[in-house]
Symmetry: C2
Subunit: 462 residues, 2 copies
C-alpha cells in the first residue's frame, strides 16, 4: 500500500471499506429525521478530533476510523432539510462521476493526458453556448474553479478585448477603467476588480429596484457620470439570479445600454448552477462569445507544455485558454449527471423546484409570525423574517432593532438542535432575515412543512 504490486487484495479491501462508510453517510443523509449537523464550537470540535500528522504511518484501520469521524462531524449537505447554501443536495450520479475523476486523476491542460475529458468539455461548452443561443463560430469557454474566478476571468477577457496591450504593459499607463454591477450582485465581481488591478472603487454599484433588479436608467446614469469623471466604462455584469433574492436583472434593457455605449456585457449565470448537473462543488464555466479571445488573453505559450510540434492537432490543448495550469477535472461529473438527467430532465427538475418554492412561499404567507422580505420571489430564493410573539406588537423602530437579533439567535438554536440549516443575512436597511433556497432535489413538501414549523418553534424558544 499504496499501489505496491503485491498488495492488491489489501488495497481493494481498504477501498471497499471506505465505500461502505460513504454509502452509510449517503443513506443517513437521506433520512429526513437524521440530524443535519452535530454542532460543536471550533475549540470543542478540535478537542474531539485527532487531526495531528504523526511521525509514523497510521494503519489502514485508523484511516477508516478517520473517514468515519470526519463524516460524523461534517454537515450533511445532501440532507433534504439542509437549505444553508445555494449548492444544496447531493446528486449521486454527479458524485459517482467525481469518484471516477479522482481515480482517473489527470489534469485538464492537454489532449495528450486528458483526451476524453478535453472532448467532453468541448462538447458541453458547445451545448451550453447553443442553449444560450450563440451561433456557431461565436462559441468558446472553459471550466473554471468556481463562480468567483469565472467572473474574474470574464472581466480579464473583457479587458483584453478592449485593451490587448494591457497583458504586456499592465494598467499603469492605461486610462482608468470602470465596471458596473448591481448592488445585489455577488461579491466576487468587486473581488475581480481588486485582483485585476482595476480597483474596487472603479467597480460601480448600480442601485436595484424593490425586487432586487438592477435599474437600467440608473446604470445609464452611472455610465455617463463615470465618463464625465474621465473613466472608461468597459464592462457590465448583469445578474441572472442574484445571491440573496434570486432576482434577474433586466437583460434586454441592459444589453441595449451596453450596445449604445460599446460595453462588454457579462452575465453571471445562476440558472444552470441550481440544476442537478451542476450540483457537486465545484463546477463553473466561463463562456465567451468571441472565439479565440480566451487563448489570446491567457496564453503564455509555455514550450514545455503547449509545444506546437506534437503528433496531434494541438488546438485540443485547451489549457492555454486559462490562467490555471493544474486544473481539476470538473467536466466528467457534469457530463455524466447531465446524461443521466437528459435535456428534458433538467427542465423538469427546475420546474419542480419552482413548484416547491411557490408551495413554501404560500405556506409562509399564511403562517402567523412570518413576513416575506420580497412579496413575490422571482426564483428559488425565499427570504423571510420570523417575528416572535413578544416582538409582534412593538413600535416599528424597536421592533426592527430587536428583529436584527432574532435570526442569529434562531440560527444558534437551530445548529444546536441540528434539525435543519438555513442562512440569514441583513440587506441594506433590512434587519437580519432568513434566505431559504430550494435547490435540493431530495427536498419534499413535508420537509418544507417541517422547516416552517421548526423555525416558529425555535423562534418562540429564544
Amino acid at each position: 500500500m499504496p499501489l505496491n504490486r503485491g498488495g492488491w487484495n489489501e488495497t481493494e479491501k481498504f477501498l471497499k471499506a471506505v465505500i461502505e462508510i460513504l454509502l452509510k453517510h449517503i443513506k443517513d443523509s437521506n433520512d429526513p429525521n437524521s440530524k443535519v449537523i452535530q454542532f460543536y464550537q471550533p475549540l470543542e470540535l478540535a478537542s474531539l478530533l485527532d487531526l495531528n500528522i504523526p511521525n509514523s504511518p497510521m494503519p489502514l484501520a485508523q484511516l477508516l476510523k478517520d473517514c468515519s469521524e470526519t463524516l460524523k462531524y461534517q454537515v450533511k449537505t445532501g440532507h433534504p432539510r439542509f437549505f444553508n447554501q445555494l449548492s444544496t443536495g447531493l446528486d449521486v450520479i454527479s458524485m459517482a462521476g467525481e469518484w471516477l475523476t479522482a481515480t482517473a486523476n489527470t489534469n485538464m491542460f492537454t489532449y495528450e493526458i486528458s483526451p476524453v475529458f478535453v472532448l467532453m468539455e468541448k462538447e458541453i461548452i458547445n451545448l451550453m453556448c447553443q442553449i444560450i443561443g450563440w451561433p456557431e463560430g461565436e462559441r468558446d469557454g472553459i471550466l473554471c474553479p468556481g463562480g468567483a474566478l469565472s467572473n474574474a476571468f470574464a472581466v480579464n477577457v473583457a479587458r483584453h478585448y478592449f485593451y490587448p496591450r494591457c497583458k504586456s504593459l499592465g494598467m499603469t499607463d492605461m486610462p482608468r477603467l470602470a465596471m458596473f454591477t448591481s448592488a445585489d450582485s455577488h461579491y466576487s465581481i468587486r473581488g475581480a476588480a481588486a485582483l485585476l488591478g482595476i480597483g474596487v472603487d472603479n467597480c460601480i454599484v448600480v442601485p436595484v429596484d424593490d425586487r432586487g433588479k438592477m435599474i437600467p436608467e440608473a446604470l445609464e446614469e452611472a455610465i455617463i457620470a463615470s465618463k464625465e469623471e474621465g473613466c472608461i466604462p468597459f464592462f457590465v455584469n448583469a445578474v441572472a439570479g442574484s445571491t440573496v433574492y434570486g432576482a434577474f436583472d433586466p437583460i434586454n434593457l441592459i444589453a441595449d445600454i451596453c450596445e449604445k455605449y460599446g460595453l462588454w456585457l457579462h452575465r453571471s449565470f445562476y440558472l444552470l448552477s441550481v440544476s442537478p448537473p451542476r450540483r457537486n462543488t465545484q463546477c463553473s464555466v466561463c463562456l465567451v462569445r468571441k472565439e479565440g479571445l480566451l487563448f489570446q488573453c491567457n496564453q503564455m505559450c509555455a514550450d514545455y507544455l503547449f509545444q506546437q510540434d506534437k503528433p496531434y492537432d494541438v488546438s485540443y490543448d485547451t489549457g492555454d485558454k486559462t490562467v490555471q495550469c493544474g486544473r481539476h477535472n470538473d467536466i466528467f461529473k457534469l457530463w455524466l449527471a447531465w446524461r443521466a438527467k437528459g435535456m428534458l430532465g433538467y427542465e423538469k427538475q427546475v420546474e419542480r423546484l419552482m413548484g416547491l418554492a411557490a408551495y413554501v412561499t404560500a405556506k409562509i404567507k399564511r403562517t402567523p409570525g412570518y413576513e416575506m422580505v420580497l412579496i413575490q420571489p422571482e426564483f428559488l430564493n425565499v427570504c423571510f423574517w420570523y417575528v416572535p410573539k413578544k416582538l409582534r406588537h412593538l413600535e416599528a423602530e424597536e421592533r426592527t432593532a430587536r428583529l436584527e437579533k432574532v435570526a442569529p439567535k434562531i440560527k444558534g438554536k437551530m445548529m444546536e438542535a441540528g434539525t435543519t440549516m438555513v442562512a440569514y443575512q441583513p440587506d441594506k436597511d433590512k434587519p437580519n432575515f432568513f434566505r431559504l433556497i430550494i435547490s435540493n432535489p431530495a427536498t419534499t413538501t413535508e420537509d418544507l412543512d417541517f422547516f416552517v414549523d421548526e423555525i416558529a418553534r425555535l423562534g418562540e424558544s429564544i
Copy 2:
C-alpha cells in the same frame, strides 16, 4: 434515483457497480505491461465515443458503460511507466480521500458548513509553516486551485502588502511595478503579471546558470536597471524545483538581495508537490508569512456569507482569505494521505525517488545514443536526448537541426505503441529533449530499465 427515498437499493447497486469499474481501472493501471494509453487522434476518438446529451435520461446501465468507456480511452496516469507530467502516480489513500470529499460535497468558505475540513486546513497550514521554519504568529495560508493561481494570489498579497490602496483604487495611478523570476520558472508567474494588471513586460526574466539556477548577480543587476527605468521592484520569485530541470534557485543569496532592496520573496514550492500526500490533482497552497494579510488583501465582507454575528468564532470562516467563493475541498485527501504516510514516510518517499532518479541517470549515461542535457540533475527531473544511430556522426549544426525533430517523432511512435509516456520540449538553444520525472511511487528500477530500452527502440524505428 438520484436519492429518491424509496430507491436506495438501486442507488447502492449503481454506486457499487461504479466502484467495481474504478477498481478494475486501478488494478489495470498497476500492471506495468498494460498500455499507458490507447491513443486516437481527436476526431477519431470523438467518433468512437457517444458524448451527446440526449433529450431523455440515460438508463443507469448506460451510465456504467459511459464510465467504462471513459476510462478505456483515458491515459493511465497512475501507471508505473507514465512519466509525462510532474504529477504522476496514483496515491490510493489520497484518491479514497477525494471519494469522501465528493460524498461530503461541501464548500470551504465557512466553519458553519465545513467544520471538520476548516480545522484540518488550519492544522495542515500550521504544520507546513512549521516545517518551513516560520515562527508562531507568522503563519498563514489557504489552499488554492492549483499552483498557477497560488502564484497569482501570492503576487496579489505582495502587492497588497506594499500598496494596500491598490485594492480600492486600482493600478492606474500607481507607479509601474516590477517583479522578477528566473528564465526557467513556471509560466504562471508571467500569467499572474498579466492577470493582475501588472503586465508581462514588467515581469523581468532573470538569466539562469548552466544548471538552470537563477544567477543572483543578474537579479541584482535587473533590480537596479528596473529602478533606473523608473519602475518599483516589489516581488521576487525563487523557484525550488524548476519545471523543466528541477533546479533550485539559490535561496539564501536571493533572500539577501530581497532584504537589501526591501522586496517580497516568494518561493514556488516544488518539494511537497512531488510528495505522495500532494499527488492527486488538484492540491496547492499559498503560504504567507504575515498573519492577517490574506484577509486584508482578499476580504470583501459579503454579509450574506461572512456575517459577524454568527453563533461561533467567525475567525474560522476562512473563505474571505481568498478570491474564490465556491472552493473545492482539497484538504481532506491531503490530510488523509499524509496521515497514512506519516512525517517520516514522506521523507522516505522522496529519498526513494531521488534514488530512482540517480539510478536512471547512471543508466542513461552508460547507454549508447543517450546524452544528458544537464550532466548532474539536482532533483527528480532527468532531461536527455536520444540520438538515433543515423544522426550520431553528423556535423554539429545539421545534427542539432535534425535532433529537434527526433523527440516529437519518438513521442508520436510512443503514443501509438502506448507502452510509456514522457514529455519533451526545447529550451532556449537546446533542441527538443525528453524530460523524465520520477515522482510516481509505483515506478521501479525495472520500469526505468524498460523505459530506457524503449526510447532507444522507438528512436531507431523513426
